[in-house]
């Protein structure tokens, strides 16, 4: 199976270890992975801040870049939600018929990482080992836009030596919301404070998710407050094995 990795702009810049983990994980599972060097951003930040024309130009760029790609894997639920929920409206409003057709053909070939593993590859046990207590934050876009349901839990359940600690109020927003976190910094911080209480109450050593944007928010507060926890993208847990443990854990 061949697949092309859309790493997303902020993973490329801030969380390359997540990308490396996706590569290790998928290659271990026999996927022939490609990486298009021309990729940049899906346009989510612009779209969510009201910059539609800019968001459209990035959407158009992405559709054109990947129009001949068989399968795209994206380790970010909010970027996949951007493509599924917002591209159609942007293309209707600002695009032409040919772009609309190309996007319609591309859409079913875009997979969020847990969708790719479970729906496309049909695996739950990826052979991972991660000897820590972990809690899973179900990002808003994963729950309510992509309807990932129990996919992440099915993957986590098969990780050896991992102890899963259920997160109270699991589907409540962490308060990140992209530029919301700076435009409404105080309200965002209040939401974060409440979320962090729930996360810390699990007694977990790691908080994981399928979206590094939530984890950047939670991790930033954990570091500021010496909360004694770390964040880690689910891809890094799934890539981790006894022979080759996850990077940057200790």
């Amino acid at each position: 199976m061949r697949a092309s990795l859309f790493i997303t702009c902020y993973n490329d810049t801030l969380f390359p270890e997540t990308g490396r983990a996706v590569v290790r994980l998928l290659e271990r599972l026999g996927v022939e992975l490609e990486f298009h060097p021309g990729q940049t951003c899906c346009g989510q930040m612009h779209a969510n801040t009201g910059f539609r024309a800019e968001a459209f130009s990035q959407a158009k760029r992405l559709v054109r870049l990947y129009q001949d790609t068989e399968t795209i894997v994206v380790p970010s639920s909010s970027c996949v939600a951007m493509m599924r929920d917002q591209y159609p409206g942007l293309i209707d409003e600002l695009g032409n018929e040919s772009l609309r057709k190309d996007f319609a053909a591309l859409l079913p070939r875009i997979y969020e990482l847990s969708e790719f593993l479970i729906d496309r590859l049909g695996v739950e046990d990826v052979g991972a080992w991660f000897p820590y207590r972990v809690t899973f934050h179900a990002s808003c876009h994963g729950v309510r836009a992509l309807h990932l349901g129990d996919r992440p839990y099915r993957l986590l359940a098969k990780v050896r030596s991992l102890q899963l600690a259920p997160l109270p109020n699991v589907d409540r927003c962490c308060g990140f919301g992209g530029t919301f976190s700076v435009k409404n910094a105080e309200v965002s911080s209040a939401m974060l404070a409440v979320k962090l209480q729930d996360v810390v109450s699990t007694g977990a050593e790691f908080c994981t998710a399928l979206d590094n944007s939530c984890l950047m928010h939670l991790g930033g507060a954990m570091h500021r407050q010496y909360a004694g926890m770390k964040t880690i993208h689910l891809a890094q847990i799934l890539a981790s094995t006894e022979a080759s443990p996850a990077e940057g854990v200790s």
Binding site: C9, P16, Q86, C140, R144, A145, G177, A185, V187
Partner: protein, 490 residues
């Protein structure tokens, strides 16, 4: 009560502070945050339980959404049908283009009745048009009869929720207001004692005041009927005892047929108060000789609604049945309560409704008062895609503000314009990652984390750290790996 709100909140969108500033006093008020979180957690849990017992909840939502969408798409025809049927049944229908016209119509009607006092059922629409202060200034004493509204009126408080307007006030604070305003020094904060005090206060009003004002949950086009649902029965007193009843209703409240209530009453009660059925469902048609009010007026209020109707992407806002499920589910509202929204319509629905009612001239900060988490859309019983409308309104605000040259160097605008340029070409994006890493090195401490940033970045670092840029980007790693394996292959 001033300690409960830390400064009197302003619910007039033309005067209110932008949301981020208006939220600050609430965020710093432990009592208020506790009251709000506790109240909505209770309602949320009840709603979740009663929605879960309906196995066909998603079908009910779809049916309710379809009924409301059809009513809104054909609003003009159904309003005319309502007017004809209501008039034939002995009611009088008035059309008010804006808040001022509605207020004048209602004051004139009360003057024709020679009424110096009027009793009211809870109606957020009357708060929208700031009816009470206008009537008081016109010499009419207004008495609220809904328990929550009595608390607000006597405590000189502002509503913070559309179904439970005094949600931000707890039991001991209610006791304080009642004791002070009713002269009951030894009143306890036992709910039975508090409601008994309210009953004594109200009974005399119900029996002596001959005019009443209500809102409407629904108007039925087919029959010309009006529907009001409530939990206390005080509303029914107002609807039945006075000789004259004036109903104020937004034009979007119309339902095509009587049988639509089968669906709407089920979704409304479950979504609003977490009940299978509202305890009191009052429904009347015009005037019935010898029974109930003998003069009945309906004031149909536009006040910006037909402008919303004219915009296809935003029209779904008018499907709203004011159940407040969205604000109960909203993680932003849970922290800020209602007053931060500077409008009688708070929460996610307020964030889209208020700026639209203001024709986008005011309340431009509200479409941004959301993390776009989607919880509102998930619970909305009429499937209003609130995040979609929020995004549409954000785009309109940005288009407005872009014309303002003063915004040209605003860090957020500048940053987003530059980012767009950088994302347009991979090499520019890669160069900016390199420059970013160099630039941020100055701010990055020995532990590899950034604790303080200037400008917009400082809004992030005021409460969170940021990990410094890693040495190697992912695409850099990928390219190096490719070179390495090519070398090995040779």
């Amino acid at each position: 009560m001033s300690q409960a709100t830390a400064g009197h909140p302003v619910l007039d969108p033309t005067l209110a502070l932008p949301f981020p500033q208006a939220a600050l006093p609430v965020l710093r008020n432990p009592q208020l945050r506790k009251n709000v979180a506790h109240a909505i957690d209770v309602i949320q849990a009840k709603r979740a339980r009663l929605v879960a017992e309906k196995t066909d909840w998603q079908e009910l939502r779809s049916a309710a959404s379809a009924i409301r969408a059809h009513a809104i798409e054909n609003l003009g025809a159904y309003l005319e049908e309502f007017e004809a049927k209501c008039t034939a049944a002995g009611g009088t229908v008035h059309w008010a283009a804006d808040a001022g016209e509605a207020r004048r119509i209602i004051l004139d009607l009360l003057r024709q009745e020679n009424s110096s006092d009027v009793i009211k059922i809870k109606t957020m629409t009357s708060a929208e048009i700031q009816l009470n202060p206008f009537l008081q200034a016109g010499g009419v004493n207004v008495f609220e009869t809904d328990l929550a509204e009595i608390i607000l009126q006597l405590g000189e408080e502002e509503p913070s929720h559309i179904v439970v307007p005094a949600l931000h006030i707890n039991r001991s604070q209610v006791r304080e207001i009642f004791a002070r305003r009713m002269g009951l020094d030894d009143l306890s904060d036992d709910p039975q004692d508090l409601t008994a005090a309210a009953r004594n206060y109200l009974r005399q009003k119900f029996l002596t005041i001959p005019t009443a004002i209500s809102g409407a949950n629904f108007l039925i086009a087919e029959t010309g009927s009006v529907v009001v649902v409530e939990s206390e029965g005080n509303g029914r007193m107002c609807l039945t005892l006075p000789r004259t009843l004036i109903t104020l209703a937004g034009i979007e409240k119309v339902l095509p047929r009587f049988k639509d209530l089968e669906v709407m009453l089920q979704v409304l009660a479950r979504s609003a108060t977490g009940e299978r059925m509202n305890p009191y469902n009052s429904l009347w048609t015009g005037v019935t000789p010898g029974d109930g009010p003998q003069r009945f007026h309906v004031v149909l209020l536009d006040n910006g609604r037909s402008s919303i109707l004219s915009k296809p992407k935003q029209r779904q806002t008018l499907k709203c049945i004011r159940c407040a499920a969205c604000m109960n589910a909203c993680p932003v509202y849970r922290q800020t309560g209602g007053h931060a929204y500077g409008s009688v319509y708070p929460g996610p629905i307020g964030a889209i409704l208020t700026p639209q009612l203001m024709q986008m001239h005011y309340a431009q900060s509200l479409p941004f008062a959301s993390s776009l988490c989607g919880a509102c859309y998930e619970v909305c019983p009429v499937k209003i895609n609130i995040p979609e409308v929020l995004l549409e309104l954000r785009a309109q605000v940005v288009n407005q503000e872009r014309r303002d040259l003063g915004r040209f160097f605003d860090p957020m605008y500048l940053g987003l314009r530059i980012a767009n340029l950088l994302f347009s070409t991979a090499w520019l994006f890669h160069a900016s990652q390199f420059m970013g890493r160099i630039g941020l090195r100055f701010f990055t401490r020995g532990d590899g984390w950034i604790h303080s940033l200037p400008s917009v970045g400082g809004k992030w670092t005021q409460t969170r750290d940021l990990r410094g840029f890693p040495k190697q980007t992912f695409h850099g790693w990928w390219a190096a790996r490719g070179r390495q394996s090519a070398k090995e292959a040779r």
